[in-house]
């Protein structure tokens, strides 16, 4: 299990909750800070003393007060920590559940876990600590779509050309040939097939007839 954990969280009540959890699962060294700058200082000091922290649990939003902070948000802190101490694990513990933002944290900063504060927050955090220790990624279920590779929902002009040909009664072979005649590319049979299948999946239909019907309903053709 982790031996040394740093918690960056400016709300005292939440901080205490996390502390309590960490004591419960018997983490030997637990430190907590209320400012991003302090967090960075602690991490640096620990590295100099050759006893680096293994996990950072941080909030995303920190309240501004009289102190003039160099890093004022969790995101900035994560950026600089990942840059300076690439080995440390990071779990974000936040109320911010914007999918875009969470996606960015995983993609850009390679964080190890994201836990939503909420009713199951503490339980999730506990799971996250055990899972990230095994070098796996944790994400709270209500925002799990951030990591799901969803397909596009976009139908572009090329797709609409295909729909029109289909509506005129052409089969895929003919469409490929027609595209070649019109010098529209891509025009290979496999592309045509792939694109039509993509549309079928976006519009959740089983066959071409149903596809055309829905496309008509939606005013695509």
């Amino acid at each position: 299990m982790y031996q040394k954990i740093l918690v960056a969280e400016d709300l005292k009540s939440i901080n205490e909750g996390v502390q309590h959890l960490l004591e419960e699962i018997e983490i030997p060294v637990i430190s907590s800070v209320q400012y991003c700058d302090d967090a960075l200082l602690k991490l640096k000091k620990a590295v100099i003393d050759n006893e680096p922290y293994e996990l950072l649990i941080t909030d995303l939003s920190f309240k501004k007060d009289h102190r003039n902070e160099k890093y004022s948000s969790g995101e900035e802190l994560i950026a600089v920590v990942k840059d300076q101490f690439p080995d440390i694990h990071i779990i974000v513990y936040s109320v911010d559940d914007r999918i875009q933002k969470i996606k960015k944290l995983f993609e850009k900063f390679d964080i190890n876990g994201f836990v939503c504060k909420g009713r199951n927050g503490i339980q999730d955090l506990k799971d996250a600590i055990f899972i990230t220790y095994k070098n796996k990624v944790f994400i709270s279920s209500q925002v799990s779509q951030a990591l799901r590779k969803t397909s596009s929902i976009n139908i572009d002009d090329y797709d609409i050309i295909l729909l029109n040909y289909l509506a005129q009664g052409h089969i895929q072979d003919e469409i490929s040939q027609l595209l070649k005649n019109q010098k529209i590319s891509p025009n290979s049979l496999s592309t045509v097939e792939k694109r039509i299948n993509k549309m079928k999946s976006i519009l959740e239909v089983q066959n071409t007839v149903h596809l055309i019907a829905i496309a008509k309903d939606m005013g695509l053709i």
Partner: protein, 624 residues
Amino acid sequence: MLITSCYSPCLAQENNRDDVYAIFKKSYRKKLSINKQHALLNCALEHAKQANDIPKILKAYDIKTFLFSFKEEKDSTIFYAKKSIELSTIEKDSIKLLYAYNRLANGYRFAEKMDAALNAYEIQLELSQKLANTNMQVNAYNCISLVKRKMGLSFESENIATKAIALIDKQKNKEYYNSYLTALYNGLGIIYKERKEYDQALAYYKNGLSFTDDPSEQNIFLNNIGNIYLKSGSYEKAKYNFQLALDNAYKLNNEKQVARALCNLGGAKYNLNDTLAIDNIAKSLEIRSSLDYKAGMYSSYHQMAKAYKYFKNNNKALEYAGKAYETAKVLNTGEEQLESLKLLIDLGSSNYIQPYIVLRDSMEMLESGATYKYMSLKYNYQKEHQIAQENELKYLGSEVSRKFGENKRVAWKWGLFILGILSVIIGGSAYITYRKKRLAEVYATETRIAKQVHDEIANDIYYTMNKIQHQRIDEETTLHTLDDIYQRSRDISKKNGSLEIDENFSKTLEDLLKSYKTNNNIIITTGINSINWSYIEKQGCITLYRVLQELMTNMSKHSKAKLVKVSFTQNKRKIYIEYWDNGIGTNLKNKSGLSYVENRIKTLGGKIIFDSEINKGFKANIIL
């Protein structure tokens, strides 16, 4: 021999490129005289120019600059450094450019053109920061600190030096920068000595001493430390340090250093009432005279005069002080002349009062002049930056005015004048209307949020409190209710919270729309990837995001729509967004949510048209 043997093969075998590198290598040989090295280089340069081989021309310039800087031929150094800069700029080779600026700056510094040197060092600093070249960055800091100190900008110099030390402190391979640390601490020591804060100066000198193993450098520190002790009256300690320096100098067999230590030692000794001082100083004078080292001779004369003054031998003191003044005049250095004149006056020779005053005044002028020149340069640089930015802004304006044409300018003058007045009036009133609208929107948003907090949060919390008070619910239900309220308060803040708009706004929008996908609906977009969002300001993007969010929220809450389509088309700068769903529709009357959407779009100068009837779906056309 080498010169002759170089020219012929080098020009004969034009295509043999390796030859040039061989010449470069040869030119570095220490055994060759500098003239021969230059001859070799000229030959290589000729060759490279003929082959139009720019990297090699650059290399030749670089080595030439380097060699000239050794010979302290300042003008040539500067000339070739400038050529290097020119060529590296054309070649877009940032690393070469960095080194070229370093050479140029050094050239200026040796030529005592301090303001020009400073400018070049600052460019070096900027480039080295961009290229993350720590070595050159520390070098730049060190030199800037040195130059500023010489210009009398002691606080700025100190500031830069501490920056450099902090930077070195961050490096993993600190030992590598020890020589810089030595120089930086020495500089700081000098600054504090000049400010007469001797304790601090001493601390810096001692610090600097700890970073060097080179006996010559150690001697510099020992002498400096001794001088501080001398100034603060600790003569025994001063003597001890000078003695160490002297021993070191003997070991090194370096006559100049022996003379310096002896002269200093004499200074400490006469203050301790030790007549051996005269012998020490005489010996140093002898060595320096034999080397014809004028600056050293001056120090010895001056020291001797002071020693005789201490021993109350006024005639001898006057004799040496006079010699010191004569030497200072030959040296043509203001400070030394001033110092020796002062001593002469102290010894009671009133003839020197007049030249002393004249010299002092002119020196003050000179010093403040140098500082002023730098300050104005610095100011100009910032100003130029500002102008460059303004120019960018003016670009659009000039585009428009160019269309009016040059010839018709006079005829247009009156027209433009009237147009100007009109546009001020129209613009002014439009601005006022805009402000009003803007305020109205802010007000509307605020009331909407207030109402939402009241309806959705406060009421429910009150309700829950009531329940708990009357013990009508268990813990699990309480938690559940509270979580529900928490989620709703989150939704409110999410709707009104900040939004990050990055380059890929299409993706952001698509993700937003996608997040409303359930098992019961089908959501598609069309044309979203071909939109160029750069015409829309950030505020516009945020508004559009919020508006679509509102429409989609309404859709998922009330419409029961199975099909949703959001299509995007662009015509030049205008973007058309069509929202369509096949839900239950609405009667479009008294829809506060929609008026909020309408307000937001209107504030941006866009248009939104709704179209809906009960059971006939919902449509919204947005033009931005």
